[in-house]
């Protein structure tokens, strides 16, 4: 069980929660905690906080709880929650925004998800398209799960579902530029936000 001193929650923490909500294009006050997001979530049983609780902690300003939560990293971004929310709260976007904020704060509640993210982006950046066999191999090596796909890999190779050939798109330089631009824009924005926060303090 957690203990929260609501009066001790700092303005900075509240602003951090607001920033996440802004990032996701959501007004946290819209959520009235009905639980329909959690009810439909296919991954809720694997999560440490259910989706509703993530929104609730953001409402309370308890940003640390949210940044350390595994839930946003487990979220499959299937958008069931957002599509069914009676108040039009885009919970799915909140999960994405929390994940970015968490990564930016140097936290890795689910390291595998972080590794997979990085490898996926690197893979797409290099080839213009995801080459799943190499992505899987790189992920398995970096995450230490060396043998996890051995059984499947041989069968998939035999049936021709994956191959050793590397696919490279013609416009992969453009894709790489696109990825770089997006990553650069995100870090600039976050750096500015951090400065602004520092300036206020």
């Amino acid at each position: 069980m957690r203990f929260l001193d609501l009066s001790a929650i700092s303005d900075a923490d509240k602003q951090a929660c607001e920033a996440i909500a802004r990032d996701a294009g959501v007004n946290l006050k819209d959520c009235y905690q009905c639980g329909k997001c959690t009810a439909g979530c296919p991954l809720a049983e694997s999560m440490d906080l259910v989706p509703r609780e993530v929104i609730r902690y953001l409402q309370l300003g308890a940003v640390d709880v949210v940044l350390e939560a595994k839930t946003p990293w487990i979220c499959a971004q299937c958008v069931v929650c957002s599509s069914r929310c009676p108040q039009n709260v885009d919970i799915c976007s909140v999960m994405r925004a929390v994940r970015l904020a968490s990564k930016h704060a140097g936290k890795r509640p689910v390291p595998e998800a972080d590794i997979f993210d990085d490898e996926f982006i690197a893979n797409v950046r290099a080839h213009g398209v995801s080459n799943e066999q190499y992505l899987a191999a790189a992920y398995n090596v970096k995450s230490g799960h060396f043998v996890q796909d051995m059984g499947n890999a041989t069968r998939m190779l035999k049936r021709g579902m994956v191959g050793v050939a590397m696919h490279n798109t013609k416009g992969r330089a453009n894709v790489a530029a696109l990825v770089d631009r997006a990553l650069a824009a995100d870090s600039t924005r976050r750096a500015q936000a951090d400065e602004g926060k520092g300036g206020e303090a």
Binding site: R2, L4, S7, R52, R56, Y57
Partner: protein, 660 residues
């Protein structure tokens, strides 16, 4: 020898489908004193009724048995039919062959046997009935409204506008009730006093309304159309014919008394008006605190009064008048939370206040002139905790019921606080948010967007640390224990019935529930009537309500009263209890059981064994008796009889059933 006619109905196939009606008719023809039996496909149809009427006249029938649907359905039809014939409308018995026979049985043989029994019983009973005649009860075209809050004022205005005289009895020195204490009303945020005071002056100036302020009901007797009510007007010590309401006396009075209107947050003088817009706009002297009346020294008010209106010799006045109808609009008060909730400080923390105190704190004419300042040090609280359901939904410490208005009331308080203190923080602890009203949920959602932090859970304890009030609770939405350090705490306390309601309701024999709310005649279909004819309910005396619901019920009660007062006389139901004075022991068991207060014990003179003796006997008031029959089964001596359902006629029915 009586001449009984039996009329049996097929009701299409409703009865005839399961009951062999012709077999029942054949049996009926063999019964003693039955001179005519007829069957009909639909007896209640116009030709069916015409046939019954003709048969009665042609065959010289003097008692009628109808075997058809439930008497709840068509007994009034048959009584009306008999009124057009020489037969008395009460020489009638309905055998219920449909709801209690054909509809509940499948076996034709069994159903027919039962129908035969039912008709036998009805014939046996009707042979012993006596003709009954209703009496006319005159109606006094004047209404009494008890309570001058928004419900009472609305009722009085609606009745008076229909052209009837109304008297309002108000216990306090002014009309207005609780509504005039409120600052704003949800969800429109109308200024409460601005919409309430025009009603007050409309009532005060209405030619058909008499306002008796500072008055209470002393005594009641009588019944519907004829309530004789004695009203005690407490001594005001001021001649209202002379007083101009200039207020000079109030500025000079040296006595200082806790101001109840301001919820104890300021002081008033001993000669006082409740608030500036009071109606009547004239002061009274509070005899308990006036120096002249308690010590004999002072008399400043009489010296400064320019019209000589002060009269220290004034006494309570009793007046008795007759009213045709009475409306209870006695309202509510807030539960005394202090002895119940030691965990919230039990009153030892000055900055733990009630919702009504908060209303006065944000009111421009309140003790702080509308600035939100906490009572202890008159500083602006930067953090306020609002706790809902204090005394409500708490059967252990308070009441089991929901007080209905507090969810909106607390949303309004949060909104008002954040409006007046934009940099303040407001936390609302709640179990549920119940907003079933037009525009209510929208108002609540707006309050959330104003920045009120709603925390789902009850506060377990409030304690002091420095000048902060620490509230310990749970956020059940995250299963976290939470604390808030607040500058001020507002408790949204439960509504309970006004003081003295038990005694007042007992005087009028109006029923109360376990929490002393007055009980309506039927929870769904007769919501403004009481079980005592001629007495109606308006507003929160019946249960917790908000203002729109109170006004709505007030209008409904008024329309019932107008309907009653429009009649010149009422036809009484002649099926009432009768006392056999020879058997009556005068022990009063019937008086105790009667739910309508219709029976009293009187001393009466009798000749017994050639001697005059005086002994107590029961007496039934025909205006109050509703013919429920409770007294007839209670009376040990068998002295009580219900006309139309006499002990003898019921025994005859049982006999008929037992003759094989």
């Amino acid at each position: 020898m009586s001449r009984i006619g039996v009329f049996l109905c097929y009701c299409g196939s409703n009865i005839a489908g399961t009951v062999d009606v012709e077999a029942v008719a054949e049996m009926a023809r063999s019964l003693p004193e039955v001179v005519y039996v007829e069957t009909n496909k639909y007896t209640c149809s116009d030709p069916g009724q015409e046939g019954v009427k003709n048969a009665i006249i042609e065959k010289g029938i003097d008692r009628v048995v109808v075997g058809a649907c439930s008497p709840r359905m068509h007994e009034p039809t048959w009584r009306k039919l008999l009124a057009d014939t020489p037969v008395n409308p009460y020489m009638l018995e309905v055998a219920n062959l449909r709801e209690q026979c054909s509809w509940v049985h499948k076996d034709r043989e069994v159903a027919t046997a039962k129908a035969i029994d039912l008709v036998k019983m009805a014939v046996a009973k009707v042979a012993r009935l006596q003709p009954l005649h209703s009496i006319e009860i005159p109606v006094h075209k004047k209404a009494l409204v008890i309570g001058g809050g928004i419900a009472g004022m609305q009722t009085a205005l609606d009745i008076a506008d229909a052209g009837f005289q109304v008297t309002i009895v108000e216990r306090e020195t002014s009309l207005g009730g609780k509504m005039v204490m409120l600052d704003k009303t949800f969800p429109t945020m109308d200024c409460s006093a601005c919409i309430c005071t025009p009603k007050m002056s409309e009532v005060g100036n209405h030619p058909n309304i008499t306002v008796k302020s500072y008055s209470e009901v002393e005594n009641v007797s009588g019944y519907i159309g004829n309530f004789e009510v004695t009203i005690r007007e407490k001594a005001k010590f001021i001649d209202y014919n002379l007083c101009t309401g200039c207020g000079a006396c109030e500025t000079k009075c040296p006595a200082k008394v806790t101001n109840a209107f301001e919820q104890g947050m300021s002081q008033r003088t001993a000669i006082y008006k409740m608030f500036p817009q009071a109606v009547p706009a004239k002061p009274v002297i509070d005899a308990e605190h006036c120096l002249k009346l308690t010590t004999g020294k002072c008399g400043v008010c009489s010296k400064v009064c320019p019209t000589g209106a002060i009269n220290y010799e004034d006494e309570d006045k009793l007046t008795t008048e007759t009213y045709g109808a009475v409306v209870f609009a006695t309202g509510y008060k807030l539960i005394d939370w202090k002895p119940l909730y030691p965990e919230y400080g039990g009153g030892k923390y000055e900055d733990v206040i009630t919702g009504l105190q908060f209303e006065r704190l944000v009111n421009a004419s309140g003790p702080t002139e509308g600035h939100v300042l906490r009572p202890s040090d008159r500083t602006e609280p930067k953090s306020v905790v609002i706790i809902k359901c204090v005394g409500s939904r708490d059967p252990n410490k308070g009441k089991a019921y929901c007080s209905r208005a507090c969810c909106m009331y607390s949303a309004k308080h949060a909104h008002q606080y954040l409006d007046k203190v934009p940099d303040g923080k407001c936390y609302v602890f709640y179990m549920d948010v119940r907003t079933p009203g037009k525009g209510y949920d929208e108002f609540y959602m707006n309050t959330l967007h104003d920045g009120a932090q709603y925390i789902r859970g009850r506060v377990s304890k409030i304690y002091k640390e420095g000048d902060k009030l620490i509230c310990k609770g749970e956020d059940t939405l995250t299963s976290s224990q939470v604390t808030v350090s607040a500058d001020m705490v507002v408790l949204e306390t439960a509504m309970v019935p006004a003081d003295g309601i038990d005694e007042l309701a007992a005087k009028f024999t109006v029923g109360r529930d376990a929490d002393s709310w007055l009980v309506e005649a039927h929870a769904k279909l007769r919501p403004v009537e009481t079980n005592t004819a001629g007495i109606y309910l308006a507003g929160t005396c019946q249960g917790p309500k908000d203002i729109p619901d109170s006004v709505c019920q007030a209008g409904a009660a008024a329309s019932k009263v107008i309907g009653l007062l429009n009649k010149d006389a009422l036809q009484s139901n002649p099926q009432i209890s009768r006392v056999n004075e020879t058997l009556c022991q005068g022990d009063g068991a019937c008086v105790n059981i009667c739910p309508y207060g219709a029976i009293s014990i009187v001393e009466k003179q009798f000749r017994e064994n050639s001697r005059k003796v005086v002994r107590p006997v029961a007496q039934v008031n025909p205006g109050l008796c509703q013919g429920c029959g409770a007294c007839t089964v209670t009376c040990r001596a068998g002295a009580m009889d219900l006309l139309g359902y006499t002990n003898e006629s019921i025994m005859r029915e049982v006999d008929a059933l037992c003759q094989w």
